[in-house]
């Protein structure tokens, strides 16, 4: 998370649920991952931070950096959403 995280982000109840039922928590964020996707949960520490790399949507081969940047959403940068799909493909 860049900048100040929202208050609930550090609530024990939220953190516990993210470990116990990550699929359900992601779904509440609007990210309904198919059952065929394995979910791994990591915790950050003072020594370890994570950088989220949004999954490249299909049909973006050959797109320029600025075209790809247009597809990136805030949610896809914090790991709770997929990037936009390219239009008309």
């Amino acid at each position: 998370v860049l900048g100040l995280p929202p208050n609930w982000y550090k609530y024990p109840a939220y953190r516990a649920r993210a470990v116990r039922e990550p699929r359900a928590v992601l779904k509440e964020f609007g990210l309904d991952l198919p059952e065929s996707v394995e979910i791994r949960v990591w915790d950050s520490s003072a020594e370890l931070r994570y950088w989220v790399l949004p999954q490249r949507p299909e049909g973006t081969e050959g797109m320029s950096e600025s075209e790809l940047a247009e597809l990136v959403t805030r949610d896809s940068m914090i790991g709770v959403g997929q990037p936009r799909r390219p239009e008309g493909r």
Binding site: P12, V19, R20, P22, R23, E35, S36, V37, E38, I39, R40, V41, W42, D43, S45, A46, E47, L48
Partner: protein, 133 residues
């Protein structure tokens, strides 16, 4: 938690003195240690044959001691008595000795909260596998 597990725990709770704190019908906790104390007692009962009637008696006794000694301004907290009863049963059943309990308490109290925070944890803390079909 399945409906069967919930019913099993509710049946245990129905045998305890006083009303366990609840919020909108569900057992409610104010702090993380209350959840642990609750879960420890239930898990010991279900997995280690921890005698629930014995726990029930200790809890009644702990509440009576509190009622006899606490002043009218003392703040009541169900899980203070719960923990007292749990400790007594665990020690009387030789699951732990008083020294082990004191030693571990000392260890926890003297270990800084973020003692491990400088170490990178490279393994995931949880993995939810993909469904296999």
């Amino acid at each position: 938690v399945s409906a069967v597990e919930r019913a099993r725990v509710e049946e245990l709770l129905a045998r305890l003195p006083r009303e366990i704190p609840r919020h909108e019908g569900d057992v409610a906790f104010d702090t993380a240690w209350e959840i642990r104390a609750f879960a420890l007692a239930v898990a010991l009962h279900e997995r280690n044959g921890f005698d629930w009637a014995g726990f029930q008696r200790e809890l009644i006794a702990a509440i009576e001691r509190w009622e006899d000694s606490a002043g009218s301004d003392a703040s009541w907290r169900y899980y203070d008595r719960w923990l007292e009863a749990l400790e007594r049963v665990v020690i009387s059943r030789d699951l732990l000795t008083g020294e082990e309990l004191d030693g571990r308490t000392h260890e926890v109290l003297t270990t800084p909260r973020d003692a491990e925070h400088q170490h990178a944890h490279l393994e995931p803390v949880a993995v939810v596998p993909a469904a296999t079909r």
